[in-house]
């Protein structure tokens, strides 16, 4: 009895593994697309990260003191693009990752 149960468990494990492999092999195209977009979205997140601010001050020759904020990567906006359904590129300028994700996940439907 226990031997049968063990065989059933081992067989189930193999079936599960096989299904998993098959599932991965047949991943829907949009899943692959999402995975591809993730790198673009992440790059937008990094480029628009405003957390690394440095503060300082300068004195002009006139004697006026002015304050300075420096941000590595700058206060950047990022252009992202995807191909439209008409074969023409679609471009969007974003300053945060969710906006980039929204743009890349949008779709058109012909002309």
């Amino acid at each position: 009895m226990n031997g049968d149960l063990g065989r059933i468990i081992r067989a189930g494990a193999w079936v599960a593994l096989a299904l998993g492999v098959l599932s991965a092999c047949n991943a829907r195209p949009e899943d692959k697309a999402s995975a591809g977009s993730a790198a673009v979205v992440e790059s937008v997140r990094v480029a628009t990260d405003r957390s690394r601010i440095q503060q300082g001050a300068m004195t002009l020759r006139s004697g006026e003191r002015i304050r300075r904020i420096t941000l590595r990567n700058g206060f950047s906006h990022v252009l992202v693009a995807r191909m439209g359904p008409d074969g023409k590129p679609l471009l969007s300028c974003v300053d945060n990752a969710p906006a980039a994700e929204a743009f890349l996940s949008a779709s058109g439907s012909g002309q």
């Binding site: 906006h77 995807r82 191909m83 074969g87």
Partner: protein, 627 residues
């Protein structure tokens, strides 16, 4: 940042080549040997770009952008851009094209800390400006503009070289166009996108956090906050709380309240299109205006007010694709066709428009086939002369149902009563503030309803010319072109009880820029306005009009002392503008008037100064449509 080490010692410094440039924009090549701007891959000159290598062509485009901005701006201090052309993220369904932004922002220090060191270089105190603009105020370089630290430069820019190497990077078919002539067809015009991104770097951006509503550190506003106008509350961002700003950023009702932009709206934007259904006996609910539309890039003109009118027709062919055969006759009708088709890649918007026009249609409405917001139908077709618009799926369904039920009459019209596309009724240009998460960053772009399309919209359209449209007026508003108005005044030094006096004021613009649309407002305390003459003939506020460089406007105002008063006073006249610098815009006039115990005499004229204060604040708002 990757180490550039000693390479920058030999980095190529490229100044904008235009001899007419009023500002010099220096592109500092941050790429290593044989990469990016130094890529030696042979290339054929294209569209006026003489470069014979990939790197040279990329650099030529950046130079052209530097020349365009350099021609438009004015600064004695070179503006430095640390630029890279390097591999960035790509995927089969999208790519990062590039990024740019200012690396440093500046503000005046709190004068109270040092006892003040006037006059400040800044037009507005305790307000943040990007570095290129700050250096323009200071007339000296504040950043070294050399070295391998990006923070030494005004702007840092990175663009994606992977689009040129499809054999090693799949960017979903996206490719660059390096020509300078805007003939990019299905490629991405690098010049347009660099022009856009440099715009952000030069100051077309809000520094306020849209998610928290907070200002930059020290809780002081940026210059944009003076002009970001919330339509609902009627407040500017600098006067709002952080939570109010957060709400405003997604309100769908955010506008730019700068006078230069407002003045430029009528000559830049067009009246919005609409479909006006005037009759639908069998479906009365369909009779209304349909406003959520996009005009096709190749559309024929849409007349203002009168419009193109006729019965709507929705044929059995639906899509209007050639493969389905010719459309039924549509003489004198406005056709409705569905977006899409049996093979969408072979049935274009242009094809549909040609088929409808050939069938005799006087206009074409394309009904969206998805619930997404309407897109702008793209294409080039000089032979299409009828109006072509795309409407939402919902509106399309409504009209198609109405047509199926019975006759429907409609007009395609640009309605002047609605104001300009992309502006409010007061001609304030709208900023992008969608109520739901949409592609594109909010606040730091014009609204997508602007028509014609603008350079600084979040969705960069393929039909943009290489121009700066409303961007330059916005730069005037934020102080790139300071107008240093002065005002002088004179009048009687004393007035008796109830006596009238004539005061003369002169507003002078020493240049070098024209100050258009100067408006004067005044606040009278204890004095009553009687009349004005000369260049201002109305009560305050009055409009002096454009004041050219080196010219002045003069007006006289008769004011009447009250029947009782508190003593002597003065008039303080202030002429200000959106970018006034210095203190020359203030004039003080002493006016002695009766004291309350004077009993109608002029005893106060002999008394000590200032018991009866008449404060006249004159605010001259300068707006320039053209330099």
């Amino acid at each position: 940042m990757r180490a550039l080490g000693g390479f920058l010692g030999t980095a190529l410094l490229l100044a904008a080549p235009s001899a007419l440039a009023k500002a010099t924009i220096v592109i500092v090549n941050g790429d290593g040997p044989a990469t990016g701007f130094n890529d030696p891959t042979p290339a054929t000159p294209v569209g006026g770009n003489p470069g014979t290598t990939l790197g040279a062509q990329r650099l030529a485009v950046f130079q052209q952008v530097a020349a365009i901005w350099g021609e438009a701006l004015d600064s004695a201090v070179p503006i430095t851009v640390f630029a890279h052309f390097e591999p960035l993220s790509c995927s089969t369904n999208g790519a990062t094209l590039g990024s740019a932004g200012p690396t440093n922002i500046f503000s005046s220090d709190d004068p109270s800390l040092d006892g003040g060191v006037p006059p400040s270089i800044f037009p507005k105190q305790k307000t943040w400006y990007v570095s290129s603009q700050t250096q323009r105020f200071a007339s000296v370089a504040l950043l070294p503009g050399t070295g391998d630290d990006e923070n030494n430069y005004d702007i840092v820019a990175r663009f994606n070289s992977s689009l040129d190497t499809p054999e090693t990077a799949d960017c979903g078919g996206l490719t660059w166009y390096y020509g300078l002539d805007n003939q990019h067809e299905n490629s991405i015009d690098l010049l347009t996108v660099v022009l856009h991104e440099f715009g952000h770097g030069l100051g077309f951006l809000s520094l306020t956090s849209n998610s928290s509503g907070s200002f930059p550190p020290m809780n002081e506003p940026d210059i944009w906050s003076y002009y970001l106008y919330d339509e609902t509350s009627g407040m500017h961002w600098k006067d709002m709380t952080a939570s109010q700003r957060v709400a405003s950023a997604v309100s769908g009702g955010l506008a730019w309240d700068g006078p230069s932009v407002t003045a430029a709206v009528p000559e830049t934007l067009a009246f919005p299109p609409l479909v006006r259904v005037t009759s639908s006996p069998d479906t009365p609910s369909a009779v209304k205006d349909y406003k959520e539309l996009r005009v096709a890039q190749f559309s024929g003109p849409i007349p203002v007010d009168g419009g193109v009118s006729g019965p709507l027709a929705y044929g059995s062919t639906g899509w209007g694709c050639s493969v389905q055969g010719p459309l039924d006759p549509l003489d004198g009708r406005i056709a409705i066709l569905d977006r899409g088709g049996p093979n969408s890649t072979s049935c274009t918007f242009v094809e549909k428009a040609r088929n409808a026009q050939d069938a005799g249609a006087i206009g074409l409405l394309l009904a969206n086939n998805v619930s997404d917001p309407p897109i702008t139908p793209s294409g080039t077709a000089p032979d299409v002369v009828i109006p072509v618009l795309l409407m939402t799926q919902t509106d399309g369904d409504t009209l198609k149902s109405a047509v199926a039920a019975g006759p429907v009459d409609a007009a395609l019209v640009r309605d002047s009563s609605q104001g300009y596309s992309g502006a409010d009724s007061a001609h304030r240009a709208l900023l992008y503030s969608p109520t739901t998460l949409e592609p594109g960053s909010s606040v730091s772009h014009w609204d997508t309803t602007a028509f014609p399309n603008l350079l600084m919209e979040p969705i960069i359209n393929g039909d943009l010319p290489h121009s700066l449209d409303l961007t330059l007026p916005l730069f005037r508003d934020i102080g790139w072109f300071p107008v240093d108005l002065s005002i002088t005044g004179n009048g009687p030094s004393s007035l008796g009880d109830g006596q009238e006096g004539t005061f003369t004021f002169t507003v002078n613009n020493p240049g070098p820029y024209v100050a258009p649309g100067v408006k004067v407002t005044g606040v009278l305390t204890g004095l009553t306005f009687v009349s004005s003459s000369g260049d201002c003939t109305s009560n305050f506020p009055c409009v002096l009009g454009d004041v050219a460089a080196g010219q002045s406007r003069t007006f006289t105002t008769r004011l009447k002392a009250g029947s009782r008063s508190d003593g002597n006073g003065s008039i303080t006249a202030t002429a200000d503008s959106v970018a006034t610098t210095g203190n020359a815009n203030v004039a003080n006039l002493a006016v002695r008037v009766p004291t309350s115990s004077g009993g109608g005499g002029c005893t106060a004229a002999l008394g000590p100064p200032a018991p009866w204060l008449a404060l006249l604040g004159l605010l001259a708002l300068a707006r320039r449509r053209h330099r």
